[in-house]
Subunit: 192 residues, 2 copies
Amino acid sequence: MTAIFDFLTRISPLSDDAQRVLLGMLREESLGKGNYFALAGNVETQYGLLTAGVMRAFYRNADGEEYNKTLFTPVSFVGAYASLVSGQPNQIYLQALTDCTVWTAPYASLTSNYDRFPDLERLARKLAERYYVVKEQRELEIVMLDAGERYQLFQQQFPTLEQLIPQYHIASYLGITPTQLSRIRRSFARND
Amino acid sequence: MTAIFDFLTRISPLSDDAQRVLLGMLREESLGKGNYFALAGNVETQYGLLTAGVMRAFYRNADGEEYNKTLFTPVSFVGAYASLVSGQPNQIYLQALTDCTVWTAPYASLTSNYDRFPDLERLARKLAERYYVVKEQRELEIVMLDAGERYQLFQQQFPTLEQLIPQYHIASYLGITPTQLSRIRRSFARND
DNA sequence: TACATAGGTTAACAAATGCGAACCGGGTCT
DNA sequence: AGACCCGGTTCGCATTTGTTAACCTATGTA
């Protein structure tokens, strides 16, 4: 719980009043391994803060092919962010890869307090800006790095995850097949 | 000029006061074809609104390989956005592909008015959220679509650009070589 | 114990794309 | 006209990655 406000106020300071209001919105939820926090097709209304476990955000196309857009470890915002801010139907599935704890709140409760608490809207602004910066960085990595380099970057960014989740989820995060990831791992095992 | 405020207030309404302040910051600039609006390495301070011409945002790695991250047509925000909001050194070049008109302002002048004008900060929030949504969409397109599909999408999104800028800029935007784009164009010319 | 299942690796082949070089047509400059 | 140059196309070949299928191991279950 304090971890959440540590996480938030490190992004942007919040008045005690704003913190109280925010606290009033949040509800603790357990999300069992394999269960979904958001589904494609819906207009999502809930956002959350992951405090324990691992989740993935993934896209699935008409042929059923999946792409793991993001992997989440605590403390992270989780939610169908694009759908929440745009009001458009959600395209992204959010799924627990291990048993998870998520503090959730209705997104509308957040936005409806922007007028009363400018510091809350400031937090939302800074958060959106950070989201953008992270996405831009990810775009550059996808386009400019080859799969082996992306794999090494993944290992740096998520040192614990490689043992925690199946290889095929990592492969999907890297934008390659499990076959190709296996080849990459073998080539590194030989040379390093 | 009115086009700018049309563009802005369509994103989020602005009070007359806020519009006046914003207007006071903006300065019209001509940017000749080939010239740069932002360079990698600097911490950028200026943002801009493109009102005429075509620009590109591109990344260049250590080997000199380039990737056209974004193509801009009027009216668009242009600026080293990630650098501006994060304060980190800029990674992205911004270059005029045709003669351009850009209305520029110091980013700090904008942020320093957020306290006085919450509607300005709201605009900034909504803008950041939109930026994120667009970037997420682009990420999905890059990962889930093959180069031919991305080319068709480009044609839909920028119906005029194919005649206006060289093919190799389009290829770079699509993440492929001019050679491959040429093959794709030929294959479409045969079958459609 | 025997069986089934899931995840990971490997092999053989196919498809997509990059790379280097050649070629070509339309401008432009002298 | 002649000599460039730039951008686009094309060719042949190499590389990367996907696809399909087989196989192996660990784990769970009847």
